[in-house]
């Protein structure tokens, strides 16, 4: 993701991601046309579903909240040169922490149990990332492979816990009992009702503000703190960092913990903000979307906010679209996400090389 010197900053920050996005949407459009639907009409339906009416916007922002957290998780690791594919598993385990706290302590008042649950999400998510981080730093095993394996291990572990240990008594579905209301993060429409502002009834909740705060904090820590400087140094050149006396191993482990903790906070939005119980597979690919969000957002908070919004809109708009057009299921969104990851994360040379050549020519002619 190096920035070529002969391309203006605005082009590499805005033009490239947009070009990649259009390329991905174009290929999706081709597939939609292939199955006999009108891509332009579908795009309109999707935009309308995501932004066209108050409930749609609420749901879009709800999905955006989770994607901000998992996007930040992937970005944090990227800044240290690590590719954390384990967001899915880290979020799942964080959900376990949240669930354990809520099942034990949800008789306590909200201002005790919610912070406690957040702490548990951070600890459990961080711990699930700690092991791959430790193994990468101390034993040299590749973080990508280990985090993939940890996703599978998390999935098996949680299946066992939900089926055998945590399942609500007398129920057949692998899910916990509903948490008491004390543990629910307040919905936005409830928060704003006393102020006389009427918002639509959606799962959008106060975690959204937490996500915005995380974005600001991320910016401050990564670019304006010694810890961020050290992290980026390790990411840019590990050997140089080691030579400069930076404890690279410690940085790698710490960054992975932070990354896992960020992914873990997405579980708060899902469990305490919306479902109010733990269901099997509640992460539902949110951890993987974080990869796309971070790549498209160029690991910068502003970019992550915008691309999380884009993916929130894709998710909500896609769900609406699948009601209107039964042929286009939510898997179409997974396909589009994959395309965006491919174009933004692995095929940047496709447009970068000809574009920077074009800019070079333009500059020469001036």
């Amino acid at each position: 993701m190096s920035q070529p010197a002969n391309m203006p900053r605005w082009a590499s920050l805005w033009l490239m991601p947009l070009l990649n996005l259009f390329a991905a949407l174009f290929v999706s459009g081709l597939v939609i046309a292939l199955i006999g639907e009108d891509p332009v009409e579908c795009l309109k339906l999707m935009i309308n579903g995501a932004f066209g009416y108050p409930e749609g916007i609420g749901y879009t922002l709800f999905y955006t909240t989770s994607f901000i957290f998992t996007g930040l998780a992937v970005a944090a690791a990227f800044h240290a040169g690590l590719f954390n594919i384990g967001g899915e598993g880290q979020m799942y385990l964080a959900g376990l922490g949240v669930t354990l706290v809520c099942l034990q302590f949800d008789y306590l008042p909200a201002y005790v149990v919610i912070p406690l649950a957040m702490l548990a999400a951070i600890l459990f998510g961080g711990a699930w990332a700690l092991v791959p981080g430790y193994l990468q730093a101390k034993r040299g095993s590749h973080i990508v492979v280990t985090t993939i394996m940890f996703n599978f291990i998390a999935s098996s572990l949680m299946t066992w816990l939900l089926v055998d240990k945590l399942r609500m008594e007398g129920s057949q579905t692998p899910a916990t009992r509903e948490f008491a209301q004390n543990a629910w993060v307040p919905m936005l429409h409830e928060l704003f009702a006393p102020l006389g502002v009427e918002l639509p009834n959606t799962p959008l909740n106060a975690s959204f503000f937490l996500a915005l705060m995380a974005l600001v904090l991320f910016y401050l820590v990564v670019w304006h703190s010694p810890k961020g400087f050290v992290t980026r140094t390790v990411g840019l050149n590990e050997k140089a960092a080691r030579y400069a006396g930076i404890p690279v191993d410690k940085v790698i482990i710490a960054v992975m913990c932070v990354s896992g903790a960020l992914a873990g906070l997405a579980a708060i939005n899902e469990l305490l903000g919306s479902t109010h119980r733990m269901n099997m597979g509640f992460t539902n690919g949110i951890g993987f979307v974080g990869i796309a969000v971070a790549l498209m957002g160029r690991n910068h908070p502003v970019g992550i906010l915008l691309s999380a919004l884009l993916f929130g809109a894709l998710t909500q708009g896609g769900l609406d679209l699948s009601f209107e057009k039964p042929a286009i299921t939510r898997e179409m969104i997974i396909f589009t996400q994959g395309l965006i990851i491919l174009f933004c994360g692995a095929l940047e040379n496709l447009f970068q090389t000809p574009l920077s050549a074009a800019f070079k020519r333009m500059l020469k002619n001036q």
Partner: protein
Amino acid sequence: MDMIFSVLDATLRVSTPLVLAALAGLFSERSGVVDLALEGKMLAAAFAAACVAYIAQSPWVGLGAGIAAGMAVAMLHGVVSITYNGNQLISGVAINMMVSGVTPVLALAWFQQGGRTPTLSDEARFTAIDLPFADAIAHSPALKTFFGHNILVYLALLLIFVVSWVVYKSRFGLRLRAVGENPHAADAAGISVKGVRYMAQAIGGALCGVAGAYLVLAQTGAFIQDMTAGKGYLALAALIFGKWRPWSAVLGCLIFAFTDAIQIRLQGVELPLIGSIPDAFIQALPYVLTVVLLAGFMGRAVAPKAIGVPFVKSR
């Protein structure tokens, strides 16, 4: 006794697609290209094999389609990783998501049966081959374990020999390993690094094609959404477990398949000393083993040196 044979029988059946995919990964990774896309290649192949075998009513045509689809996905991975020097890890993750998303959409559009394809009739599947001494087999569970399979099982077995010969004894194999260990030296010796890497992708794609086709044509009889269910990653784990060597990787596949086969038998069975083991633990075993091995607690797994690094010709 019967139980032992039925476990071995199941192990052989489950290990076949793993072995094929692990051998596919071997070519790709030995050439220096990380192959997280094994999963996507297999899934695409399974889908193509299911569609074409249903229309053509022939398993062989279906197998051909599976191989073609596996190779097509491999070429996409190749274009991204080899021609455009893209991030191979990200390419693999992206391809897996794309295939997992697009296949159920197409299945729904073409066959209107949810995210799956119609069930194949017996003529369109690979069934156990009839041997002249079939009667003798029917009475002996031991013989049945080794002779009562479909042709792809034996093909996979044969391919293990072929692959290990190709990788270690043939000219192409020498070049493959050279390109994966030190591409600049190979380049200086006049070997086309990109050419060898594309060739490795093509072979790997074809092998994944057979693996994916096997899942449909020999096992389920239809394409089901996300039917590979992590088998590509499992094969990759076996490859790492086998330290990027064909026979050791096959051994890894057999161990993983064996744990899968005994998992069904161990459900609810009380073992002496340990009691009953939850099947989630057995399911997680291959992944735990891989992590332990990668961490160097069971001998060091050393990857091909140039793996994951795009080759940029020095001038």
